[in-house]
C-alpha cells in the first residue's frame, strides 16, 4: 500500500470523536440543550440506547452543540478506580481537572489522595468544587458520565458504597451550575428501581438508529472525493443496516476498502452486496454478541425467523416461526415466543409490525444464515426445548394472549430478561379495554422546547413507543409541537397493535402503565391499573413531560415505557 492512498474514513468499532464522521443526532443535542436550561435544569439527563448505537460518540460531540458557557467534561467510569467513594471522587476530580485543562485551558488543583481518603466529601465538595466554581465564574460544569451502570455494578459487587448515588443527587440539588448527563446501555430499569431518587426523576432520551437523512449523509459524504454512491447503493445500505450507526459505518468501511482495491467513479448496490461477507467477518464480535446475549427462547425466535423467511427481507408471524420449529420437532410455546419477541424488539434486534417480525439489521439475518441456522442450533437448544415441551397448556394459553401484543410493549431493555410480571401485565392489559388518559395543555413556557425534537430517535422509518392498547390510528388529532401534558383528559380509547405511519409523518405512541402491585411483585388483578397512551407526530418535544406527569403522585409503583421501530 502506498502511504498517499486515500485513508478509509469509516470507523467500524471505536467511538467517533472527530466531527467529520459524525452525522445526525440533532434531536439529542436539542433535548440536552433544552433541558439544561429549562425548568428541569436540576434534573439529570439520561441518554440510553442499545450497545453500539453511538452513545459515547454523542457525548464526545456534546460540547460542540452546547452554549460554550456549559463546560463539558467526559467521564469514563471504566478508567476510574471505583473501589470506594474516596477513590471515585478523587478520580472524578482528577478527570475534571484534566478536562478543564485540556479542553478549556483552565487550571485547577486537586487535593491530594490523602485528603480524599480522610474526608472524601469535604475534599471533593468543599475544597475541589469551590476551586472549580471560582475559575468557572458563571459558567456551568456538565459532567457527562458514560455507562453509569458501572457504578451500580460496583455497588452490587460491594466495592462501592451505595450512597454514592445519594451523593450525586446531593450535588445536583446543591450546585445550581453543576449538571449531569449520563449514558446507559443496559440496566435502565434496574437503575430506576434501585435509585429512584436519581434515575426515577431523570429526563430520558433514547439513542437509536440514525434518521434517514443522517444515514444517507454518512453513506455518501465521507467518500465523495473518491466515488459517488449511486442511489441504489444508498438504498441498499439503508436496507441492510436500517441506519444503525455502527453497521452503516461497517458496511461503508468495507465498501471503501473494495473501492481502494479497484477504484471506479461510482459504487452501486451490487458493490454493497459484494462486501456483505466481509462486513459479517469484520463485525463478527458484535453480531455474535447479539446471539450470545440472548436467552434460548430469543435464540429460537431468531433462528426460527430466519428459517421462516427464506425470501430474505420478508417478515414472519409468530405462528410461522413456531411452525418451522414444529416441523423440526421442537415445540416453541406461544407465551415463550411472545416474551422472546418482545425482548428482541426492545433490544432493536427485531422489528414487530402487525404481528409479524423482521430483523432490524439485515446483517444479523445474514450472520444467522452463516452461523446459526435452525437445524444447526436445534441441538444447542435441546435442553430448553425439553422444558418447553413440558410447559402446561394453561400457562401457554395465558401467555398466548400476550402474543397479540408482542413487540409492542417492551420495557426498557436490561441485561435481565423481561419479568414474568411484565409479560402477564401485558396479557392482562390486552385483555381489558385500556383506559387511556391523556391530558393536553398547550404551553409554550419552555423556550427550548421549540426545537424540533422527540425523546426517541429511530432510523428513519416510523417510530413507535407503545402498547397493544395504544392506537397509532387514534381518532384524536396529534397534538402540536411545543405541547405539554397534564393529567385529566381522555385522549384516545382504541385498541390496536398496528403502526402504519409513513416515513415523514411518523407516529409515536407513548404508553405508561401504572399499577399497584402486591408487595411481592406479583401481577395485579384486572382493573388495578391504568394505561395511558399518547399519540403524537414525529418531532413532538413533550414526550418526557407526559411521562413525568403520569409518574407523579399517584399510587403507582411501576411504570413501563418502551419503544420499537418499524420499517
Amino acid at each position: 500500500m502506498d502511504a498517499t492512498r486515500p485513508v478509509n474514513p469509516y470507523i467500524a468499532g471505536s467511538p467517533v470523536t472527530g466531527t467529520e464522521m459524525f452525522f445526525g443526532r440533532e434531536d439529542v443535542f436539542s433535548f440536552v440543550r433544552r433541558n439544561l436550561t429549562g425548568r428541569h435544569r436540576d434534573t439529570p439527563i439520561v441518554l440510553y440506547g442499545q450497545r453500539r448505537t453511538g452513545k459515547t460518540s454523542v457525548l464526545y460531540q456534546m460540547h460542540r452543540h452546547l452554549d460554550p458557557r456549559y463546560r463539558c467534561i467526559f467521564i469514563d467510569p471504566h478508567g476510574l478506580n471505583l473501589n470506594g467513594i474516596e477513590n471515585l471522587l478523587w478520580g472524578l476530580a482528577t478527570s475534571i481537572r484534566r478536562g478543564l485543562q485540556r479542553d478549556h485551558q483552565l487550571s485547577v488543583a486537586v487535593p491530594d489522595r490523602a485528603a480524599f481518603a480522610a474526608s472524601p466529601h469535604t475534599a471533593f465538595e468543599t475544597t475541589f468544587l469551590d476551586a472549580v466554581w471560582s475559575i468557572l465564574g458563571q459558567d456551568h460544569l456538565v459532567l457527562m458520565i458514560d455507562e453509569v451502570v458501572r457504578l451500580h455494578e460496583e455497588v452490587r459487587a460491594g466495592r462501592l458504597e451505595r450512597e454514592v448515588f445519594d451523593y450525586l443527587r446531593h450535588l445536583m440539588q446543591h450546585f445550581e451550575r453543576l449538571n449531569f448527563v449520563f449514558s446507559l446501555g443496559s440496566g435502565v430499569e434496574e437503575m430506576r428501581k434501585d435509585y429512584a431518587f436519581l434515575f426515577g426523576v431523570a429526563l430520558y432520551h433514547r439513542i437509536s438508529f440514525l434518521e434517514p437523512a443522517a444515514a444517507r449523509a454518512l453513506i455518501t459524504q465521507p467518500a465523495q472525493d473518491c466515488y459517488q454512491v449511486m442511489p441504489d447503493g444508498v438504498e441498499k445500505i439503508l436496507q441492510i443496516t436500517s441506519g444503525h450507526p455502527y453497521y452503516t459505518q461497517l458496511v461503508c468501511h468495507c465498501l471503501f476498502d473494495r473501492w481502494l482495491r479497484a477504484p471506479k467513479p461510482q459504487v452501486t448496490s451490487a458493490d454493497a452486496d459484494a462486501v456483505l461477507p466481509e462486513a459479517i467477518e469484520l463485525g463478527s464480535a458484535n453480531l455474535t454478541y447479539v446471539w450470545e446475549d440472548s436467552t434460548p427462547e430469543e435464540q429460537a425466535m431468531m433462528a426460527g425467523m430466519a428459517a421462516a423467511m427464506p425470501a430474505g427481507d420478508s417478515a414472519a408471524t409468530a405462528d410461522q416461526i413456531r411452525e418451522v420449529w414444529h416441523k423440526a420437532g421442537v415445540r416453541l410455546p406461544a407465551g415463550q415466543a411472545a416474551t422472546a419477541a418482545r425482548n428482541l424488539t426492545a433490544r432493536e434486534v427485531v422489528v414487530a409490525s402487525n404481528g409479524s417480525y423482521s430483523f432490524a439489521i439485515y446483517l444479523q439475518r445474514l450472520w444467522l444464515d452463516k452461523h446459526r441456522r435452525l437445524d444447526w442450533v436445534k441441538e444447542e437448544l435441546e435442553e430448553p426445548s425439553r422444558k418447553w415441551s413440558e410447559e402446561p397448556e394453561q400457562k401457554r394459553d395465558r401467555s398466548a394472549k400476550a402474543e397479540t401484543s408482542a413487540g409492542d410493549k417492551p420495557p426498557h431493555r436490561q441485561r435481565s430478561r423481561v419479568s414474568p410480571w411484565a409479560a402477564t401485565l401485558a396479557a392482562v392489559g390486552a385483555g381489558i379495554l385500556a383506559l387511556i388518559v391523556v391530558i393536553i395543555v398547550l404551553s409554550s413556557s419552555n423556550s427550548h422546547s421549540t426545537a424540533s425534537s422527540n425523546s426517541h430517535s429511530t432510523a428513519g422509518a416510523p417510530k413507535k413507543i407503545g402498547s397493544s392498547a395504544a392506537s397509532s390510528s387514534a381518532t384524536t388529532p396529534a397534538p402540536p409541537a411545543q405541547a405539554k401534558y397534564t393529567l385529566g383528559k381522555t385522549y384516545a380509547t382504541t385498541q390496536d397493535t398496528s403502526c402504519n405511519a409513513g416515513t415523514n409523518d411518523a407516529t409515536i405512541t407513548v404508553t405508561a402503565v401504572h399499577t399497584t402491585t402486591s408487595p411481592d411483585g406479583t401481577p395485579p388483578e384486572n382493573g388495578n391499573f391504568m394505561i395511558a397512551t399518547v399519540t403524537v407526530k414525529e418531532g413532538y418535544s413533550g414526550v418526557r413531560d407526559v411521562m413525568r406527569n403520569l409518574s407523579s403522585p399517584t399510587a403507582c409503583r411501576h411504570k413501563r415505557m418502551a419503544c420499537s421501530r418499524k420499517d
Binding site: D2, S14, P15, T17, D76, H78, R102, Y289, R372
Partner: protein
C-alpha cells in the same frame, strides 16, 4: 550452492522474505491510519503465520511505507505466551511499559514509560495519565499482542482489566492488534468478560491459507535467489502435501531444496519429501486435532474417509458430507477458516494429502483394543443404547475397529438414523486399509 532459502520453525523476520497477506496488511494499517486509530483482532490457527505478520507490521520501513512514520508511531510487540498463572494486570503492564521503553525511538515516550515501570500501585488511572502525556507528545502507540488467549483464559485478568484497557484505547492514541487462535469472544474465561464491551472495538480479521497465487509466489520468489529449480511435478507434489499453507509449504520446500543440494534424482527427492514431510507434519496435525471440538473431528474424519474414496482427486462436496453428517455445514465453514479444509472448484479437500491417512490412523484401533472390545461394550451400555435396531448392525460390527478413545465420538456421529448406514459403510470400507 546457496543456503536453503526456505525456513520453518521460526517466524519470518526479514521483510524481504515475507510474502502475501496484502489484504490483511491493508486492513490493519488502514484501520490504524483512520481518524480514530482503530484496533484489529487477527484470528488464525497455529502456524498460519500470525507472528510473521506481526514482525512484518512492526518493521519500521514497512510501517513508513504505509504512512505510519516511526518517529510518530511506537509499535510494541509482546509475545503473551510468557503470561502465566502467576501474572496479573499490574505485572503485565510493567512488562508492556518496559517493552514500550525498549522499542520506542522517541525519547519522551521512553522517559514517560519508565515512570510507571515499577509502580506497584499502577492502575488504569495512572495509565490514563501516562497515555495522556504520550498524546500530548504527539505520539501514537500500537501494542501488537501475540497469542492474546493467554490473557483471555487467565483468571487473574478480570473485567476491570478489559474495561480499563478499552478505556485507554478509546480515549488515547493507543491501538491494539491482537492475535489469537480463535475469536476473542470464544476464548473468555467468564461470562462477565464475554459480555464486556471490550471486544466491540476490534474488527475481526481472519488469517487463513495463502491464496494459490501467493503460495506460488512464495516458492518462485524464494528460489529466484538460488540456482535450484523445482520441476513442475515437484511443485505439484509440494502443493499436494502442503496445500497453500504457509508453514507446511516452507517445510516441504525446505526438504525438497535439501534433496536438490544432495544431487539426488527426482524420484529419490520425491520419496524423501514424502517421508520427511510426514515426520514434520505429524506433531502439528496432532495439535490441530487436539484443538478441534467433537463436530470438527467428525467432519475431519468424514472428509478423510471421503478423500480415501475419491483418490487421486480427493475432493468431496458439501452434500457428500451432509449425507454423512447432517450438521456438517457450519463446521465446514469453521474448518475452512482454520485452513484445514480448502475449497476446490465448488468442492472441498483437506489442505494436505497427508492429513487423511493420519486421521484414519488416529481413529483405528490396535489389535489389543479390538480384543478388549466386549469389555468396553459392557462398560458403556448407556452410550451404546443410542445405536440400537437392525439399522445399527453394521456400525456395531465396525465399532471394535475404532480406537477406544473415539468410539464415543463415532457413536455420537452415527446416532442419526438418517446417516448411520452411510457412516458404517464408509468406515467399513476404509478402516481395513488404515493400519
Amino acid at each position: 550452492m546457496q543456503d536453503n532459502p526456505f525456513t520453518y520453525g521460526n517466524p519470518i523476520s526479514d521483510r524481504h522474505r515475507f510474502v502475501g497477506r496484502d489484504r490483511e496488511v491493508e486492513q490493519i494499517f488502514g484501520r490504524l491510519r483512520n481518524e480514530e486509530f482503530e484496533s484489529s483482532s487477527l484470528v488464525g490457527d497455529r502456524r498460519i503465520g500470525k507472528t510473521s505478520l506481526f514482525n512484518y507490521l512492526a518493521d519500521p520501513r514497512v510501517r513508513a511505507q504505509h504512512g505510519l512514520l516511526p518517529e510518530q508511531y511506537v509499535f510494541v510487540y509482546a509475545d503473551l505466551q510468557m503470561v502465566d498463572e502467576s501474572m496479573g494486570p499490574v505485572r503485565l503492564w510493567h512488562w508492556l511499559l518496559k517493552l514500550m521503553r525498549q522499542q520506542s525511538v522517541d525519547r519522551a515516550v521512553a522517559d514517560l514509560a519508565i515512570t510507571l515501570e515499577g509502580d506497584e500501585r499502577l492502575d488504569t488511572f495512572a495509565l490514563d495519565e501516562l497515555f495522556e502525556q504520550i498524546d500530548h507528545e504527539g505520539q501514537h502507540v500500537v501494542f501488537l499482542l501475540d497469542e492474546f488467549e493467554h490473557i483471555t483464559s487467565n483468571g487473574n485478568f478480570g473485567p476491570d482489566f478489559y474495561y480499563g484497557l478499552r478505556s485507554l484505547v478509546i480515549h488515547h492514541q493507543l491501538a491494539l492488534v491482537t492475535s489469537s487462535r480463535r475469536e476473542l469472544i470464544e476464548l473468555c474465561h467468564s461470562e462477565a468478560i464475554k459480555s464486556s464491551p471490550f471486544f466491540n472495538i476490534f474488527a475481526n480479521i481472519n488469517l487463513g491459507l495463502f491464496t494459490h497465487a501467493d503460495a506460488d509466489r512464495l516458492i518462485r520468489q524464494s528460489l529466484s535467489r538460488t540456482e535450484v529449480q523445482f520441476s513442475d511435478r515437484e511443485i505439484e507434489e509440494v502443493f499436494d502435501l502442503a496445500g497453500p499453507h504457509p508453514y507446511f509449504l516452507q517445510a516441504a520446500c525446505w526438504v525438497l531444496y535439501e534433496s536438490h543440494r544432495k544431487d539426488l534424482g527426482e524420484q529419490a527427492r520425491t520419496k524423501i519429501l514424502r517421508t520427511q514431510f510426514d515426520q514434520e507434519a505429524t506433531p502439528h496435525f496432532a495439535d490441530y486435532w487436539g484443538n478441534s471440538d467433537d463436530y470438527e473431528k467428525i467432519v475431519l474424519t468424514a472428509a478423510a474417509l471421503l478423500e480415501q474414496k475419491t483418490t487421486p482427486e480427493r475432493t468431496f462436496s458439501l452434500s457428500d458430507l451432509h449425507a454423512l453428517f447432517a450438521a456438517s455445514e457450519p463446521t465446514v465453514k469453521h474448518l475452512e477458516k482454520r485452513g484445514l479444509l480448502t475449497p476446490v472448484s465448488g468442492k472441498y479437500r483437506l489442505f494436505s494429502s497427508a492429513l487423511s491417512p493420519w486421521i484414519l490412523y488416529q481413529i483405528t484401533a490396535e489389535l489389543s483394543e479390538q480384543q478388549t472390545f466386549p469389555e468396553w461394550w459392557k462398560q458403556n451400555q448407556k452410550a451404546t443404547e443410542r445405536i440400537t435396531g437392525k439399522q445399527a448392525e453394521p456400525l456395531r460390527r465396525i465399532l471394535p475397529k475404532i480406537r477406544t478413545n473415539y468410539r464415543q465420538l463415532i457413536i455420537t456421529w452415527a446416532s442419526d438414523p438418517q446417516t448411520i448406514g452411510a457412516v458404517a459403510s464408509l468406515l467399513n470400507s476404509s478402516l481395513a486399509f488404515a493400519h
